[in-house]
Symmetry: C2
Subunit: 217 residues, 2 copies
DNA sequence: CGGGCGATTGATGCAATTCAAGGAGTGTGG
DNA sequence: CCACACTCCTTGAATTGCATCAATCGCCCG
């Protein structure tokens, strides 16, 4: 499970994991800070952003999530969500209702393994984000973001070199610790350098080597 | 378990958790990137920093850890450590040898609860770090760091307002995404403003209110 | 007591932000 | 289906927060 995905062969009693689907319209919240930890959520279609609110009203996006990824682990700590999950487009999720997560872990080896994988993935994802925010410059950050997005596209079975961004410039900037203007300028710069073309939110990566070079510079 | 601590009442068969202590001298590694996931480590005395190495040779400190905190969760993902843990002073840790972590989880409800707590704490700690790195300015970052350190001191039963920093200015800077010079200047500035006194690594916080105000500004 | 690492402080530079204006795309209601 | 409004994006110019470069100081520790 390299990317926090649930395996397809997961067949669990419905009493433990309810495969109920729910629809979340664009811009609406799947969960909010303080919501009790009642479920994990596997994305079946669409995409989400997760964000933390800071006490002065600002907020920080902590991740973008796509099909087959799992949301909600931030509530493990104290049984309440510590962040918001907002749909970036009309989306569908499967509820993995956790009536009692300890109970669930007790019963099924399969679930245990899955949970350890999911949690491990989230930890390493977060550490990677700390690395990005803490030590990369703006060019490197955006290059990293694009590589990451490309890879997620590929994982979903789409072309890694041609995709639609689901979020605004402002969100990308917030996520990377930059302003929306800087993000926009970087897209223009990368475009001039022949690394990609960008029309509104349609990205076409032309030179992945160069992107990698920037990221590692 | 608000802070990733192991409860004192933890009594588990030695076959599962070996309470063996090992000593790690200052500057030496408890584990390195790539080391197989053989144990978790509970700090019994001393302190550690954890860091990720970036492909170009730079590194990013992801956390500072003190007595009763647990290290090693970064290996959950793929059974190998993704970071370094380096002792900042002569330290002692208890090995929580994980011969088979799934097996361990299977046997003991207590361990399951502890693990969920530890893992949840690490996730929320990481998210908090993303928030700090992504959206705070230099003053706010250092204020946050000092508050955090003060709180950890208090948790350990020491005065939250008077403590010794175990790391160099360079490490604080690296951790916060700043240079060592900026950190030094900020200490001087805070000192001039009567927020604290600092002599070398001895910190005395004089005005915690002001520190909080900076952090939330 | 001397060597060396760590910390401070100053001068300068630059990357990214801020402020500002205009343009382009999207959706909605007439 | 068009017009208007609104949100999002781009680009330029000025500003600034933090980094970089550099010199000196001072505290340990052998």
């Amino acid at each position: 499970m390299p990317n926090g995905k649930l395996p397809n062969n997961l067949k669990i009693t419905e009493d433990i994991i309810v495969k109920e689907r729910i629809r979340i319209p664009k811009k609406e919240a799947l969960y909010k800070t303080g919501d009790p930890f009642s479920s994990l959520y596997a994305i079946r279609s669409g995409s989400f952003k997760t964000l933390i609110e800071y006490s002065n009203g600002q907020s920080q996006i902590t991740g973008f999530f796509y099909r087959d990824e799992v949301l909600g682990l931030d509530a493990l700590n104290n049984k309440a969500h510590a962040s918001y999950a907002i749909a970036m487009e009309d989306s569908e999720v499967c509820l993995l209702a956790v009536k009692d997560i300890e109970h669930m872990l007790e019963e099924f080896t399969e679930i245990r393994e899955v949970m350890v994988g999911l949690v491990g993935t989230e930890i390493s994802r977060s550490h990677n984000m700390i690395l990005t925010l803490g030590s990369l410059n703006a060019d490197q950050k955006l290059a990293m973001f694009l590589q990451d997005t490309a890879q997620k596209q590929e994982t979903m079975g789409y072309s890694p070199n041609e995709f639609i961004l689901r979020m605004r410039r402002e969100d990308i900037g917030n996520y990377l610790g930059l302003t929306l203007e800087t993000v926009s300028r970087l897209f223009s710069k990368f475009s001039k350098e022949g690394i990609l073309t960008i029309n509104n939110r349609n990205v076409h990566i032309l030179n992945r080597e160069k992107l990698l070079a920037i990221q590692k510079s």
